[in-house]
Amino acid sequence: MADALPKKKLRMFGLGKLRPFVKNYKGLFASMIAATFLSGLLQTVLPLFQRYAINTFIEGETLEGIGIFALVYAVCIALIAVVDYIASYGCCKIEMFILRDMRRASFDHLQRLSVSYYNRNGVGKIHARVMSDTEAISSVVSWDVHTGVWNAVYALSAVVVMFLLHPLLALLVVAVIPLVALVSAYFTGKLTKIGRQVREINAEITGDFNEGISGAETAKTLCVEKKLDGDFYRKTRAMHRASVKQGHYRALFTSVVSFAAYLALALVLWYGGAITAADLAFLGTLTVFMNFAQGLMQPVQWAVDALSDLISVKVNIERFTALLETESDIQERREVVEKYGDEFCQKRENWEKLHGEVAFDDVTFRYPDGEEDVLEHFSLTVPQGALVAIVGETGAGKSTIVNLVCRFFDPTKGRVLIDGRDARERSASWLHANIGYVLQTPHLFSGTLRENLAYGREDATDGEIWEAVRRVHAESIVERLGGLDAAIGEGELSVGEKQLLTLARAILADPALFILDEATSSVDSLTEARIQSAIETVLAGRTSFVIAHRLSTVRNADVILVMDGGKIAERGTHASLLAAKGLYYELYVRQFREERERSLASP
């Protein structure tokens, strides 16, 4: 029972869930808390030296033993320095180690989660989980714990010392403490609320800056600068009002606490003064009380602060642990992991060669967060080397087929067969290692060109890398950047150039299966020609799934899937679909027109 209570309290702040991260640093925690404890304790001893000096030397009018006094005093100070060092350095280590461990754990876990998690949550939020929430948590479990413990120990110990010296006088000082604690709790709550309001207005103001800059041209054409200024001034006025209110409460808060300290001092002087008047030997003790009367109120305020931090970090802990508890949409069977390994430990020696025949066998699919089936009893056999084109409007669900081929999702019912075997019989890593994937928005990592090009095949030689670069006609880009060892900086490459480089990356990996999401963004005609020829090079001889925007790609496809409203609306070859004069016909006509018009313009 005695054990159960503190655990329950921990759970209250959500701290219990952090046990796996705290566990490894029990020793550090113990030494940090012990040192903090000692430091708080010793700090309350210091005023006693003053008392001794007054009682012994000043009242006794002698300097005998002052050397030893100074020595003991110095030792005590030195001891405090040592424990303070241990406590604060320990605190920092705890903070940084736990931060590192939490970031590692969340990052590793994210590597195992399927793409759907990223789609659902957005990169910004996921990034905040890994970088900011962890920071808030680790700072609270180290520094706030330290502050809380130190101030609590100091306050308690001071109270004990006072009671030992003079219980009645001690009672007078202690009577002020609950007042300060209550006032602190009241103001802390109030300030949290106003703080939120201020942050909200502040976000609006930042939004207005954003809009003022990106919407400047529109504002000019409409001649509404004055009106927009007026609306903005209203917001800055509201911000001013709220912030001043915040400052008012903050000022009131600290004023009350400082007044409480003086009030305690006045009480000590009144009652303690009377005692001293009757017995002069009490003077030393009186100075101790005056010391504590003034020194005790701030720790109470800080302890309340630390407590409120502890409460507010609960949100961060919840968000962080929710991430760790999320399970991947792709669950590998145990025997699969045993034979083929997992993401981090791949057993490549057991991997079969992938030839590139893909088949959908009566597949029904619904997204994990979706409301309806987007594929129903879909069957399609794609022989090795065939080209499947997927077309449709933006948001028509063109990536669904690709998501299933890449095994970013598993089908709800039915099977996806790779070389005749259910994809789930082999690991996703095996499949991924055999797939080349070029995105609509080309993604390059910061680092050198070589690292990026060899991303799919780390052991590629320079010769092989250059060969791949040549095949997509990107030599001039590499040369311009200064060779394979040049770092890729922001803004140095145009979108078209990035596309070429990602195509080279895919060629180098030499995959049996190729997925291409063609870009819609317009590039200059020279780059466009290069990209088209590079795409032809890449597709030749490989089984390919292309989310297509170029007519040339679509015309060459063996099967075309036309997507609409998330589902497959039409399927067939280019000729049969044109003849049907359905959705494909419309899309094709529009595309045809746009390409023709582009070709009319001078380069």
């Binding site: 800059i213 990106s214 002087l269």
Partner: protein, 603 residues
């Protein structure tokens, strides 16, 4: 603002401080008075200990306190009077404490508000050429974090500097009044403490910066991994990514732990230094007391002043070393404030023909976006402009709306050169609908009425009907009160364009320009809107820019543009008959079905 104000850093700061300087000074005055009152309390304690409780003679320095309250005999029997004195002093101190913080917050917020207001209103009035040359993110950074840095500098660093100087001056003076020798000993520690903390802080700054940079690298690795999750998965690079993250994670942690070791050492050492100083004062003070050179009460008071001195002085080094940071921020802000605004002001309304006379224009990238453009648009007529993307159509109308001045040649309206007029006057007469106009984050109704504040709900609806968007708006849950943008409904490209048209129509300008502002609207709606406009724009001089022949074919005159030049001009019929580019575009757009039919037959 006037240019001369912003000439120097301090000049700009002075400009921003207008209206808040007096408040800052009030805060400093309150600080000074509060500090003086605070310096009285140790004197009260001293005289109480020495002369009310003890038997010392009243001194000239603090004896008057006792005399005022009724003499030592009376007070010895009425000790509570002293307590009341301290309590009332404490109350006044708390009041000044409150006033200091309140004035400081208010002053700071007033300054921040002035900075924000003048920045955004200035940015709105900067010419488009400035906007093109600056990245949004960078400008926002300057308007937010640099503004914060400057406000911290004034209300934090400068004000704290004053506070510390006041505290230090008052306490040192009091200490010298009581015992010059002891005061000299106490004060001798101060320069050492400041020098050490200044040097340490300067030394640490470089390491802190390195830490920040390394954390940014870690953050970027995470960011790239999350946004490139598909690439990572498709290349099976989870393990490599984990290793990359973990390497940096460990490196960053190690870096911090090493720094914190220094920090902990520094904190501990400076604590030790301060404690040793206090010890020295207690020991020496006791010696002086025993020799009769210092009274016990004065020793207690002396220790209070010493604490008053040493605590703030410890911050001084850090503040001094941080002062330089603000300079950079002020410079970054003044770079914006020093840019020259567009000319403001009114003038006579524009009437008459629009004439482009040999106009050329370059965005400053060495290429001419427009070359030798000359044409006349008679008042009341409609001009159509067609051409491919990048042919200069949008640039041409941007010049007409005075968004940019021509590089050479003149644009005149009714014989007046528009670059000689205030741009806002020109725009108030020429309603330009941009292809991708910005919708502001407010309601649809407010967006339409943005430039015509006195328009009633009926007029707003009327405009929306002409732009064929009224029905769409009614389909939203809140109708015209629906919020647009991130916090509300996302409009489709076509809906956005039609809202943009409606809001310009509501302005009732004599000149109207539609810059490809129906590009995302389907052809049927396009036709309907054009029919409505024909009725509505009767008498207005109109320019219609489009890539669709059908949109411009009914214009009185049509310009065909390519590569920044006018390559053909005339009526629809004449241009068709001429068989040039216009004819080709027309054929592509109109005769496509036959060509496709052929493909179907052959396919």
């Amino acid at each position: 603002m006037k240019r001369s104000d912003a000439a120097t850093r301090w000049g700009l700061l002075g400009y921003f401080l207008k209206g808040s300087l007096a408040l800052f000074l009030c805060g400093i005055a309150a600080n000074f008075l509060g500090t003086l009152l605070g310096a009285l309390i140790p004197q009260v304690i001293s005289v109480t200990i020495d002369s009310v409780i003890g038997r010392e003679e009243l001194s000239s320095r603090n004896g008057w306190i006792v005399e005022v309250l009724g003499g030592r005999e009376y007070l010895a029997g009425h000790m509570w009077l002293l307590a009341v004195l301290i309590a009332s002093l404490a109350l006044s101190i708390a009041l000044f404490h409150y006033l200091r913080l309140y004035f400081n917050t208010r002053a700071n917020q007033t300054m921040v508000r002035r900075m924000r207001d003048s920045l955004l209103s200035h940015i709105r009035r900067l010419p488009m050429s400035w906007h093109r040359a600056h990245r949004t993110g960078d400008v926002i950074q300057r308007c937010t974090s640099d503004v914060n840095t400057v406000s911290n500098f004034v209300s934090g660093q400068l004000v704290t500097l004053f506070r510390i100087l006041i505290l230090a001056a008052v306490s040192v003076v009091m200490m010298f009044l009581m015992n010059p020798t002891l005061a000299a000993v106490a004060a001798s520690f101060v320069p050492v403490l400041i020098a050490v903390s200044y040097l340490f802080d300067r030394k640490m700054k470089r390491r802190f910066r390195e830490c920040d940079e390394q954390e940014a690298v870690l953050s970027a690795i995470a960011q790239e991994n999350f946004s490139g999750v598909r690439v990572v998965k498709a290349f099976g690079a989870e393990r490599r990514e984990r290793d990359k993250f973990e390497r940096q994670n460990t490196y960053y942690t190690g870096l911090w732990v090493r720094i914190e070791k220094f920090l902990a050492l520094y904190w501990t050492a400076s604590d030790l230094f301060v404690s040793l100083q206090l010890m020295l004062i207690i020991v020496l003070g006791s010696v002086f007391c025993v020799r009769g050179e210092l009274s016990p009460g004065d020793l207690v008071a002396f220790i209070s002043y010493n604490t008053m001195l040493m605590d703030p002085v410890r911050q001084l080094g850090r503040i001094i070393s941080n002062l330089s940071k603000a300079g950079v921020s002020i410079d970054r802000i003044s770079e914006i404030m020093n840019a020259v605004e567009e000319r403001q002001g009114g003038g006579e309304l524009l009437t008459g023909d629009i004439v482009f006379d040999n106009v050329s224009f370059s965005y400053g990238d060495g290429k001419n976006a427009l070359e030798n453009i000359s044409f006349t648009l008679p008042e009341g007529e409609t001009l159509g402009i067609v051409g491919a993307t990048g042919s200069g159509k949008s640039t041409l109308v941007a010049l007409l709306a005075a968004l940019y001045p021509p590089s050479s040649g003149t644009v005149t309206v009714g014989g007046q050169d528009i670059s000689a007029l205030p741009p806002s006057l020109v725009r108030s007469q020429i309603g330009l609908v941009l292809q991708e106009g910005h919708l502001f984050s407010r309601t649809v109704g407010e967006n339409i009425a943005l430039a015509a504040e006195d328009a009633g709900a009926d007029e707003v609806r009327e405009a929306a009907k002409i732009a064929c968007v009224d029905e769409n708006i009614h389909s939203f849950a809140k109708g015209y009160d629906t919020l647009v943008g991130e916090r509300g409904v996302t409009l489709s490209g076509g809906q956005k364009q039609r809202v943009a048209i409606a809001r310009t129509l509501l302005r009732h300008t004599p000149y109207l320009i539609f810059d490809d502002s129906l590009s995302a609207v389907d052809s049927d709606t396009d036709a309907a809107i054009r029919a409505n406009l024909k009725e509505f724009c009767k008498g207005a001089t109109t320019v219609i820019v489009s890539h669709r022949v059908t949109t411009v074919m009914h214009a009185d005159n049509i310009l065909v543009m390519d590569g920044g030049r006018i390559i053909e001009r005339g009526t629809h019929e004449a241009l068709l008959a001429a068989g040039g580019m216009y004819r080709k575009i027309y054929d592509v757009q109109m005769s496509l079905p036959e060509e496709l039919a052929k493909e179907v037959r052959n396919g």
